[in-house]
Assembly symmetry: D2
Homo-oligomer: 344 residues x 4
């Protein structure tokens, strides 16, 4: 399959190039960047020297690029992918958007949280979290690849809300991410000496991943889920750990919780259940597409606490996109993703 990457110079775009390089059935056709058009990608990302020396193009003539591609991956800031999606509506190319434009069933929710008017409301799109939406992904024209924090959060809680084990109004997700999640644009907040040996929260009660988590959990449970989501910045490059809290319904036992996880993920390759009492670490999954999950029951407070670890650039972005691509192509889901994490 010929694939192109629109917005290839962000961290997620670069990670896509790493994964496409190792994918036996994906051939890179075009890569674009407005700010670096004309440059070789290996001058922007020197680690790719000799491996991917393609020239970056402008995406201005996206129709031409699309006509030469079976799939395009989009790694642009919110608001840009929907323009591309609209322009390519009638071309056979399929789209996997790593941004948020196509993640919401209800574009009003999108507009409210992203403060952008949605210009492609009737797009034929599906939500791209493979473990929960596999069937729909197979034939979708446009896949709205799930976000990084949201992937970790939703996978943590899906078994519990699906099995109606928890009070859906009690959910709190306290999440922590490495700095690559903030993108590659230099700014004081992400200047090395400012973050090194430092830890902080941001976006309390306002982070845009909140409604995405709520939408997915509401869809799974059939109940109206309302959560608190708090992101934090960890002084490291990659990795997300989500710590999710929920109050168990009265008679729910630890065994029922165990079963819920086993039932939903027992056959999933990329979800590694580490079990009750376990502590997944971000380093256990670094560089890989795995989501590792452990959970704990607090008898005193009757809460369940779920811990999940992903690599934000892989299962939280580029890896998930390739997984969706594999599903959409009818390939083995782990094609090109079947490698171990990089440790230490």
């Amino acid at each position: 399959m010929k694939v192109s990457v629109i917005g290839a110079t962000g961290y997620a775009g670069a990670e896509l190039l790493r994964l496409i390089y190792g994918h036996p059935k994906a051939e890179l056709a075009h890569i674009t960047s407005e700010s670096h058009a004309g440059d070789k990608i290996s001058s922007v990302y020197p680690h790719l020297l000799g491996l991917c020396d393609n020239e970056l193009e402008s995406m201005e003539d996206i129709e031409r690029i699309a006509s030469d591609s079976d799939f395009i991956f989009i790694g642009l800031p919110a608001g840009h992918a929907m323009e591309i999606g609209r322009r390519l509506e009638d071309q056979p190319v399929r789209i996997i958007d790593l941004g948020a434009d196509y993640r919401f069933d209800d574009t009003d929710v999108y507009e409210k949280w992203y403060k952008v008017r949605h210009t492609h409301k009737d797009a034929k799109r599906v939500y791209g979290l493979a473990e929960l939406n596999r069937e729909a992904i197979k034939t979708a024209k446009i896949i709205g690849n799930a976000g990084c924090y949201t992937t970790a959060s939703i996978l943590s809680l899906a078994p519990l809300v699906k099995a109606h084990l928890v009070d859906v109004k009690s959910i709190i997700v306290d999440a922590k991410s490495g700095v690559s999640g903030a993108g590659r644009s230099a700014k004081l907040a992400n200047h090395f000496p400012e973050l090194y040996d430092n830890f902080k929260a941001y976006g309390v009660a306002t982070h845009r991943h909140t409604p995405e988590i709520e939408q997915a959990l509401t869809n799974i449970s059939g109940e109206d889920v309302l959560i608190n989501f708090t992101p934090h910045l960890v002084p490291m490059s990659r990795g997300i750990l989500a710590t999710a809290y929920a109050t168990l319904k009265d008679s729910v036992t630890a065994e029922a919780v165990d079963e819920a996880f086993e039932r939903l993920y027992g056959d999933e390759y990329f979800v590694r259940l580490r079990g009750r009492g376990a502590y997944p670490e971000t380093k256990y999954v670094r560089g890989s597409n795995f989501c590792d999950i452990g959970w704990h029951i607090d008898e005193r407070t009757h809460r369940v606490i779920v811990l999940s670890a992903i690599d934000n650039l892989v299962k939280g972005a580029a890896g998930q996109a390739i997984q969706n691509f594999n599903i959409a192509c009818g390939f083995d889901e782990k094609m090109g993703l079947d490698f171990t994490p990089v440790y230490p």
Copy 2:
């Protein structure tokens, strides 16, 4: 005042030596270490070369050391300080214990969580969190210095529970600490390559700081507080950020929350209120005795989220001990602690 440090080779002990060096009215009398008795402290902590070259003694003859000291600071693992406290009961020396032995009103709680029999149940002790217990500290024989996570957690929530603004059964504290909090003993879990570029939780539903937070908040509020407390390890040396969640009672306004913080801490030097909507960072307080606090109201979920940052070795250990020492001596509370954080 002549002061001695029992267990001077842990990180909290070393930090005490830094603060005592800069304190105009504290004179270092004795320092002890069982594993390094006979060595100079500057051979164990080379940064002290030329500044503190005292010889480490054994604490075997603690009575002699105590007779030569006005105050002793104890930086030993749980279970050891109470032995010393008992032996020194009849000497005039006063004790500030940086461990947990003297933190609990109810020694049954201590025994349950620490799995150690308490051997000094009738000790004349007070809980050493200066901002909440100043009067009692002034004349105490034994001060059970508050823990690191607990200081950040209690200071975050005290205004809210004192003013009865939140449901005391809804409290969750998700806390994150630098690795110095785990002590100086080498072990695989804290081996550099294992933690670097890594993030993880530990002690879910079982961490010993849980009952200490509950005790303090119960005392302040008069209500029976039950919480979830989850610690995490941040790949950095120093600093704690606590993210605390609580459900506001029905009619509580944002202004009422603001007032509660202002009322309790408006005159406190070491608590810096950064206000509603603010994001304290651990680097804002590094090396200093400050606790910086910001808070957020989520209208959607009717929860309050409080963020507090301390340096775990200063306000969370040695600095708080010096603050308590100043109070106990009748000195200006910030004597020897009146310096800026070290940034970046």
Copy 3:
């Protein structure tokens, strides 16, 4: 080919398991560890869960393991591999030792620097730095895989001494390594808070990689090379940067230096020449088998300064071992190593 890993629980051993997992023609037969015999490797290295759950065996009956293997990789401390080599002398199995036992032509040099008696002096062995010794590796019974610092240092200087462009008595190598190079044994020196935000040198004038560099450069140049080698510890997990200094012979031009690098490495896949004036970074090669090289001429001092970057666990250990394995098997040299670095 059936391969076994003796001493699989060190970092180099674990990295071998990562690379073997991705190698299309290597099948893992046995893995050993004396301290963890009976455990699954994925309990020692949790990132391998579901990917490599083999049980660790003792190496006591090495003959049986060897009889079931085409190749064995040895990742043991100095002094242990030679015992194994001797015991397996008459078996057809071939050996790739990641330690130092088989790196020296002259075992007296080994004994002097390693303070260990060599017990397999007449071993049929070759030095395993692929770019410089490819022919000999093809048929070797025992391959003494080059060390980490030495790989970076030798590859930096080989073109210059081979072409007789520099004074071989003027060479200084100032090298910097991530902490994984120090192994996985917990000790105070590598305890997280001790190294984080810290930088130091060690082993000045005494590091064991010194004679290995001298041997290789002497062999290449035919001149008696004597160097200073200084290792430093960088607060990061992986990566080596070597900064090598040498005085150019009188009339040597910058172009002659350029040509020397081009001549020796122009056709090498794993050596990426970044050119004169370039600054390779360890992140450019992280997780990969590349050695990136840049060089600079100082007209004022008439010195050449060479910078080379490798991943100490890949090109400096496990990756080089796989590269040697490929050569020894007659496979494509980059089989199982043809992936991009992991960035950022």
Copy 4:
């Protein structure tokens, strides 16, 4: 003494504010910043909240600021201080410039390396490295505070060149710095994910600290010193380690080297000689004004290797400035600098 800080929002400026806060005889008069004029410094550096809330002014009317100050410290990029120096020539205010404008005896050297025309060539200035130039500093109108790399490098080599123990053409300084040395301006090169877990060199054969080191060593030795200086960036916030190499003259003994260090620094408070065979670490001096030095003799190559560690923002910038200020005022040299490093 009333002191003002011109360019207070760089890292060195902020560090000056920390030290001035703790100095018993310095009173902060004015602080300036062109980009943040009108803001409180504590909004730019939140760690200073409540400690230093002064308003930043423009330096436009520098004469007025100077007339209200006994000393001004300048923390501006190269080329700006000399303008200020010229304008204040006839005012009694004394100047300590943390930049390079006043460091060079020969302004041609400055112009060649800094590519800026010098506009105050006849300034009455002295070089501000206290240990080597104390007498001249006492009465100087303008003090050109020594640079960060240069301080570590010069202090390492001064005893050797002063005693004529080494070949002055053989000197190589391989130096490593934390990222705060690169300033607070956000740019891709210093973006957190780019530097974290990464190591690189820069400025080979071209770094501007080269001629400053050569000038100082030439002045001390009376011989024409020519060196190689190579800076590297360590993924940490603070600290410099310099590794200096020099060839010993024929009959020079290890004892002669020891004596040279002892003779020059035996009475210096801020130079801590750790002795022959020692390994200073940057963490031994973090946050303090110390320069820790260890040295090694390699009998094989007849070279001496000197290791020195400083905090680049203290002894390499603001601390040295305060030390010079103390000397210039006739105060005890360690006034306001008499505290321990911050460890870990």
